[in-house]
């Protein structure tokens, strides 16, 4: 992984998916498997953090506009 250019959410997701698939195949040596699992957990957390960040951003944008929040609540009720 190149530290200069951080992965996008989708790239992280893809990596995660790749790891999961390899692990599911089951022929991964144990030590590699645990590394992959760790890496997977890291990626999963990253993705999760990003999603949470994005969700927060969205909520902020929406709450900046009082009118709009109301609208949203209405929409979901």
């Amino acid at each position: 992984m190149n530290e200069k250019e951080p992965l996008t959410f989708e790239e992280s997701m893809k990596s995660l998916e790749g790891l999961v698939e390899k692990l599911e195949k089951g022929d991964v040596p144990l030590e590699e498997a645990i590394s992959m699992f760790q890496e997977g957990m890291k990626l999963s957390k990253e993705c999760h953090d990003r999603l949470q960040k994005v969700e927060k951003q969205m909520t902020e944008v929406l709450s900046e506009d009082g009118e709009i929040s109301t609208f949203q609540v209405e929409e979901e009720s």
Partner: protein, 457 residues
């Protein structure tokens, strides 16, 4: 007697046919003198044509005499053209006059025709030479005799119709040898006066001779040269003079000339009023049109309901905004879902089970390893102990336990012969339970084991 009787009518009919078909007496010119002239109220003229020897009853119907330029009278010599026919009720033949010209003054006629032709050739009658008679003249010169009906008719008509016009009479002689010069001079004088808009010249009715001045070339010339438009009114309707031809406008009578010269003031007022009405109506129409047009425009949908345009846009924005929020949320949810699924798959791949399994296998292997080694050791131990026990059984010491012993000399040789053990040499006697160190004291050869020989220290 078997005669065929004709009726009078039949006879008259036959005579009439005969006459009517006789070419020598149809459409002929006759020179005669008029007598017994009568003009019927309905316009037909009845008279006798005669000469020294004969006379013939004649009639000139209104249809034909309408264009006569003179009024026939008794004793007048005339030239007539017409047909002979029978007036059946009286059984009388008559001359039906179609055209009549004065005879005797036939010279005048010739002169008239000649001058007319000449002036016509010279372009005096040309339409393009005619001057425009002003519709509303301010000042009118009336050239006529100061006496008689004509001047009165003209002036009263002018005053009646258009009192605003200034009327100036230029009195002239209208008949007699001096008349032409007088008329021509007056025309020139009116022109020179420079204050008239139009000239009316003429006179009342009269015989051809009486009207003759207006057929003179000097008058024609003066009219033609006149800068001012001239309305000519000579005699009656039927009288046409050279002046009439040359003049810019011809009136059948003096009264008519006055009527042609000026408009009727009442008509003018009506005219003005009418224009005013039309002007107002047109203006009102125009105004109403523009008002309607403006009102139509301001009432137009787009103008009356501009808010709807706005509301439309508001709605559009709401829709798109809502979609934005919804789709963003949906996208986020989708990503979350994807992540959740992946995460669950990952979690399910947690290697703990595998570690456990490996550990179990490892411990089993370890056990097997330990077991293998210890079993081998046990086995070898067993094997060894078997040999040891066997060895133990086979031990030669067992023989010695029965009282045998083994004697070794100092060279540690088993002593089987006495010479192997000289006297005083040391011997080691191996017993079952130990060793004895002995010294040979003596030798005793030859004796068997039965003799005894063992010497104890």
């Amino acid at each position: 007697m078997n005669h065929n009787f004709l009726t009078v009518s039949d006879l008259t009919q036959k005579i009439k046919h005969l006459l009517d078909r006789e070419p020598g007496i149809q459409n002929v010119w006759i020179r005669a003198e008029i007598s017994n002239f009568k003009r019927h109220s309905r316009g037909h003229m009845y008279f006798t044509l005669k000469d020294q020897k004969s006379r013939v009853q004649s009639v000139m119907f209104a249809g034909n005499n309408r264009f006569l330029k003179f009024l026939p009278e008794d004793g007048m010599r005339v030239l007539v053209r017409g047909d002979i026919s029978v007036y059946e009720p009286y059984g009388q033949y008559q001359f039906y006059v179609k055209e009549m010209q004065p005879d005797g003054i036939g010279n005048l006629y010739l002169a008239f025709e000649k001058l007319k032709k000449k002036l016509e050739m010279a372009g005096y009658f040309a339409k393009e030479k005619k001057k425009q008679v002003p519709a509303v003249p301010n000042s009118i010169a009336v050239i006529t005799s100061p006496t008689g009906a004509a001047v009165r008719d003209i002036i009263t008509t002018l005053k009646r119709r258009y009192p605003l016009a200034k009327v100036t009479l230029l009195p002239v002689l209208v008949q007699g040898p001096d008349a032409p010069g007088s008329i021509a001079r007056a025309i020139r004088q009116a022109n020179e006066a420079g204050r008239f808009d139009v000239i009316i010249s003429g006179r009342g009715g009269g015989s051809l001779e009486e009207l003759w001045a207006f057929n003179e070339e000097v008058v024609a010339e003066a009219i033609f040269r006149s800068e001012l438009p001239i309305i000519s009114a000579v005699g009656h309707e039927t009288d046409i003079t050279i002046s009439d031809f040359v003049a810019d406008l011809r009136a059948p009578t003096p009264t008519a000339a006055a009527e042609l010269a000026v408009p009727d003031i009442k008509e003018l007022l009506t005219h003005v009023y009418e224009r005013k009405v039309r002007l107002t109506r047109a203006m009102k129409t125009l105004m109403n049109q523009q008002k309607e047009r403006l009102s139509f425009l301001t009432r137009s949908y787009a103008f009356r309901y501009p808010k709807q345009l706005l509301e439309q846009k508001e709605q559009d924005l709401d829709r798109v905004h809502e979609a934005l929020v919804r789709e963003s949320g949906r996208l986020l949810d989708k990503k979350k879902d994807q992540l959740d699924r992946l995460n669950q798959r990952l979690i399910s791949l947690h290697p703990q089970d595998r570690v456990r399994q490996e550990a179990k296998q490892l411990s089993q292997l370890e056990e097997a390893l330990k077991r293998g080694v210890s079993e081998q050791i046990k086995e070898q131990k067993h094997r060894l102990s078997l040999q040891i026990s066997k060895l133990d059984v086979l031990s030669p010491l067992k023989i010695m336990e029965r009282g045998y012993s083994l004697v070794y000399n100092e060279e540690n040789q088993l002593v089987k012969h006495i010479n192997q053990a000289p006297v005083h040499s040391r011997l080691s006697v191996q017993l079952a339970d130990g060793k004895l160190q002995c010294e040979v004291k003596s030798q005793s050869p030859g004796k068997n084991l039965n003799d005894g020989g063992i010497v104890n220290e």
